[in-house]
């Protein structure tokens, strides 16, 4: 199932010559669901768009990168959650919009989410991961666990 790791790493390194996100129009918007804007006005930010939105092939490639980059080792198979939070429950600590997911993966998050941007993953590969994660359908009954 897994891509040949060496080939994959080489391919990713090749894409790295493209623009890094900082050099584009600015930092992406990060809006947690829980964020409250003081005074009711949100600060200005750029809204980043996933170039692969709902693209099935990009999602499939993202799924392969997800195992090749050992994401599954922390987030569980199919992102169901392990030491890292579930990515398949439709709920987010740092937001599920395109730019928010991009930031989580590219720059990392404080409680042990490694930053993959730079050496390992070029922006294109990160967008494929975002597409894969957004393709994970949360089960209908997430809020309730019933035993009978």
């Amino acid at each position: 199932m897994r891509l040949l790791p060496v080939l994959l790493l080489a391919a990713l390194a090749a894409c790295m010559r493209g623009a890094t996100p900082d050099q584009q129009a600015g930092l992406p918007a990060v809006r947690h669901d829980e964020h409250v804007s003081a005074g009711g006005a949100a600060p200005k930010a750029v809204r980043w768009q996933n170039p692969y939105q709902r693209d099935k092939r990009a999602a499939d490639e993202g799924a392969k990168i997800f195992t090749a980059m050992n994401c599954d080792g922390c987030h569980g198979g199919a992102g169901a959650g392990w030491v890292g939070p579930s990515l398949a429950d439709g709920r987010w600590r740092f937001g599920g919009a395109d730019g928010e997911l991009f930031q989580s993966i590219y720059y990392g998050r404080p409680h042990g989410m490694p930053a993959y941007g730079g050496l390992l993953l070029a922006p294109d590969a990160v967008w494929k991961l975002v597409t894969y994660i957004q393709s994970l359908e949360p089960p209908a009954d997430v809020p309730t666990e019933a035993w009978q």
Binding site: T67, G81, W82, P85, S86, D89, H111, P143, E145, W147
Partner: protein, 588 residues
């Protein structure tokens, strides 16, 4: 406890005034100054006020919320009349004054721990406790540092970086102190670390030696003249039993419990799994992973080693405690080391040489038929070998949770001659895939779903005769038993359950004497001590956690952004418990 320790205690008691006299009556017996109470790692308390006749009248006398969720492994310490508690990440240290009504805090110490450690710690942000020596409480912060805290003031005396998060190393293990050497290790068997133990100076925290668990003899501190293995004569086994350079990322973590024989001057500890889980990436025995190592505390020199699971195919870490006892084996009194391995065999070894005297399964075992006494090697069932080319290998028992989890130590009572052991009744399927090592990310390469073993219950608490290699009695439990054990001179044994019960049983018969629901599942280790009032107390943590392989995450309620389905094999555990962190004290 050492003479030096006793001196420090006398000073401490002097400061306490009127209670000192009574405390001295209680003497060393009334304290619990190191994780397993003694160097032999027996977890046996000589206190006998609580006995088989009155244990049914135990009642809770005090509780404290640690303010932290996450698995509360490890155990409190009682030194003089102070109770010390270390929490899981963020590793707060509390010191409670047992001489005052309501046991108020003397101080609390809040270290600045790198939150990144939470994601790098494979299985939960747990801590296995502290060690007391020479007026210091010494313990590890999860992010790879060891600290020493002054018991009088709560102030930090030294802090030493021992491990590297960026390489996947974290440090939940309890330090072990012998003769002014603080011996520490690191977790990371799922992250492709190069496993080691280090010896620090108790006074200054300075690094004195580093000994790797695999690699060339020079790095393993396996010196000619000192090093002799009972079954292996060749040199550089830590290199030659691996493909080229694979040992350098081959795992071999140290996260369990240590013991020490003062007569032989040997420290014993278990080494964890080789990485990755896909064994085809590391042909060979992979020495000395899944092994017990015996070293000199002063300079770390390796004296002997024995590998329980050569070329481990099943994540059978050998980090469980090595309990030292003197037992009649085959009609002869022997100085032995007893070890309940994840691989399902209970081993009785000669602790001077590492020779196998007894090795019998203590749970249902399907991966091996027996252990061959002449070679010391298991006789493996080849249909249970795993690897990326072998597809999904079914029904391997025990599961990688182990016949017993190394996290939950057994106890030994010289009074009954029996070992008291928490066990899992779990089997697994094992589908290996090729894994890539990327520093700071998992290096695993296997999917390993569990199912219940024979009988359908998921665990049992058992009594084991290590001289003969047989089970004497058992208490079946619906869930895996993940707490450590306390044995006492009152002939009562204590353990806890994942569904939140704390239990007392008759050490001879296994009859249940008492149980109490402590709220959250128990994965910590009970202790006994004498209070300033001269009474016997029993302390234990409640606080389920410690393994996201075992607990799917539906026992959590603290994060609205992380909601998970239950694990198939243990669907109803969250019906009975949820996370929490409590210290409980019980007395008559």
């Amino acid at each position: 406890m050492t003479g030096r320790g006793a001196g420090a205690l006398a000073l401490l008691l002097g400061a306490l005034g009127p209670v000192a006299a009574r405390a001295q009556e209680a003497g060393e017996d009334g304290q619990w100054t190191m994780p397993a109470r003694d160097y032999a790692a027996t977890r046996y308390s000589p206190l006998a006020q609580i006995n088989v006749a009155n244990a049914g009248r135990l009642r809770p006398v005090w509780t404290f919320s640690t303010g932290v969720l996450g698995g509360h492994e490890g155990q409190p310490l009682v030194v003089g009349h102070t109770l010390y508690v270390v929490t899981p990440y963020p590793n707060v240290l509390y010191a409670f004054d047992l001489t005052q009504p309501d046991y108020p805090l003397k101080w609390k110490y809040r270290p600045d721990v790198d939150p990144n450690a939470v994601g790098i710690a494979c299985c939960d942000a747990i801590n296995r406790g502290a060690f007391y020596a020479e007026g210091k409480i010494v313990y590890n912060l999860l992010d790879g540092r060891t600290v020493a805290i002054d018991t009088a003031t709560g102030k930090e005396l030294w802090k030493t970086k021992i491990a590297d998060l960026a390489q996947g190393e974290t440090t939940p293990v309890a330090p072990f102190i012998v003769k002014r050497r603080v011996i520490v290790g690191a977790s990371g068997g799922e992250f492709g670390i190069h496993g080691w133990v280090k010896g620090l100076d108790l006074r200054t925290g300075r690094l004195a030696w580093t000994a790797y668990n695999m690699g060339p003899d020079s790095e393993m501190l396996a010196w000619p003249g000192t090093w002799r293995s009972f079954y292996e004569k060749r040199s550089d086994l830590g290199v030659t039993t691996w493909p080229k350079d694979a040992w350098a990322h081959g795992g071999g973590p140290v996260w369990g419990w240590m013991s020490y024989d003062p007569r032989l001057d040997l420290v014993y500890y278990g080494v964890g799994n080789p990485g990755p889980y896909n064994p085809e990436q590391r042909a060979g025995d992979n020495k000395w992973t899944a092994s017990v190592l015996a070293r000199r505390p002063d300079n770390g020199a390796l004296v002997w080693a024995y590998q329980f699971t050569p070329h481990d195919n099943w994540d059978y870490d050998a980090n469980a405690e090595m309990i030292l006892a003197d037992l009649p084996v085959g009609g002869e009194e022997r100085n032995v080391l007893v070890h309940f391995d994840k691989n399902g065999f209970a081993y009785t070894l000669d602790r001077a040489t590492g020779e196998v005297l007894v090795a019998e399964p203590f749970v249902h075992v399907s991966w091996a038929r027996r252990v061959d006494r002449s070679s010391g090697r298991p006789v493996v069932d080849s249909t249970k070998l795993t690897g990326a080319s072998r597809g999904n290998v079914k029904d391997i028992c025990p599961s990688l949770e182990g016949g017993k989890t190394p996290a939950a130590p057994a106890a030994y009572s010289a009074r009954t001659g029996l070992f008291y052991v928490p066990t899992n009744n779990l089997c697994m399927d094992y589908q290996a895939v090729t894994a890539t090592r990327i520093a700071g990310t998992p290096f695993i390469g296997a999917n390993t779903p569990y199912h219940a073993g024979p009988g359908g219950h998921l665990g049992a608490f058992i009594a084991w005769d290590a001289a003969r290699g047989r089970r004497v009695w058992e208490i079946e439990e619906p869930y895996p038993v993940w707490s450590g054990v306390l044995a006492t001179a009152g002939n009562v044994v204590f353990y806890g359950t994942l569904d939140g019960w704390f239990k007392a049983a008759d050490a001879t018969s296994g009859r249940l004497l008492w149980k109490f629901k402590v709220g959250s599942g128990v994965v910590g280790n009970p202790i006994a001590y004498t209070g300033p009032d001269g009474k016997q107390y029993v302390a234990v943590y409640a606080g389920i956690g410690g393994d996201w392989f075992l607990l799917a995450g539906d026992v959590r309620s603290d994060d609205p952004a992380d909601v998970r389905a239950p694990a198939d094999f243990i669907r109803d555990i969250a019906r009975h418990t949820s996370q929490g962190g409590m210290v409980w004290l019980f007395a008559l």
